[in-house]
Amino acid sequence: MEWLTTLQAALTDHTVLSADNLARYGEGLVTTVQLVFASLVIGLFLAVPLAIGRSSKRRWISLPIYAYTYVFRGTPLLVQLYLIYYGLPSIDALRDWQYWEYIDRAHVWALVAFTLNTAAYTTEIFRGAIKNTPRGEIEAAKAYGMGYWLRMRRIVLPSAFRRALPAYGNEVIFMLHASAVASIVTIMDLTGAARFIVARTYSAFEPYLWVACIYLCLTFAILYLFRYLEKRLLAHLRPAGE
């Protein structure tokens, strides 16, 4: 166990990678993953009905959803985060709400902003996939006497989800990277941990390099997960003989 003591000595010597700071990176990693995962899951649940509404022929349903996705995809996430972080607490009615003290935390505002943002992108991804459903499949479903919702549930959505998979994988990576802005509103995510350590150790470079490597690893993990999923779920689309 000699190497352990050497390692310990190295860690205590090292200002940026001290045990304290390692714990901070760890907490930051957990915060980042939690924030991203929670907003992706909630965003996904919001995006499915929104995408169905967005593909609707009734304009009073599809237009408001289009307006929502247009605004959230056309403005920077940082501006959306500021709008929610500074904006919601400025509404008196909301501040007087009895549960206000429970939700008035930067984490909640970041989660709200991220969720609304990813839901907008995911809605458009799903809409594209729904629109690309082969005409024949829908006609066959109609010929079988399926109604709109049954068709949606059995035919359109299952194949649309598969078609949306590659684009959704990009969205997950995009969200992971975009989540770094949480550090701007005082959240101790991975980037926040790096900023904190930079402020404390006066080493302006290493902490960022270190978290950049962690982000790179996370990105690759997501990339391989989606490649695996695509291989499994899109197996029927591969050219024959492969």
């Binding site: 920077p76 400025s90 960022y208």
Partner: protein
Amino acid sequence: MTDLMQYGPRLFEGAMLTIAVALLSLLLSLLLGLLTASAKMSRNRLIHGIATLYTTIIRGVPDLVMMFLLFFGAQIGLNMITDLLYELYGWDLYIEINSFVAGVVTIGLIFGAYMGETFRGAFLAVDRGQIEAGRAYGMNHGQVFRRIRFPQMMRHALPGLSNNWMVLLKTTALVSVIGLTDMVRVAEEASKQTDQPFLFLGIVALVYLAIASVSEWGFSRLQERYDTGFVGGED
């Protein structure tokens, strides 16, 4: 309303700065993109490897972290070089990295990687036979590039370029974090001072949407131009 009058001119200056950062980094990213695309299509394995490493790292690290890394890291790197020059030759230099330059360079570097991928795909989409035909007519490489490859490549590249530009535009909001007073920074300050976040940040959001809409229109004009002579097949 008085708040708006007070912050209006600064907000306008901020918007101009946002546009300047966006356009300059677009220019840089287009140049880097063309370079990366040619490096990725090169048969030289070293050049190919460097380009692949560049695009992989850029696409795996968040823009914000990249910005901090380059802004603070490049300053330290420069200081080390100037210190070394002082020790070796006695040159007394101090170069300070300006946050405007750092912002433009970072965003340009990030989007250079994305542009590279777009350009590479577009170059590969140009029919080989046409390049050979151009060579057979006696055109040199430069002429083939200017007359055949570039105009046709652009037709395939434009949708990707337009997409990259929209993302780049939104990324400029991050320069407010390294000390530039772009419109996001002005609006944030104004929101805190006047307690009217919806007014100021709302205006900023509208400006972003306006720029996006104008560019969308511009890109569709460009697409029409580069689609000249192309007859659509199926669809």
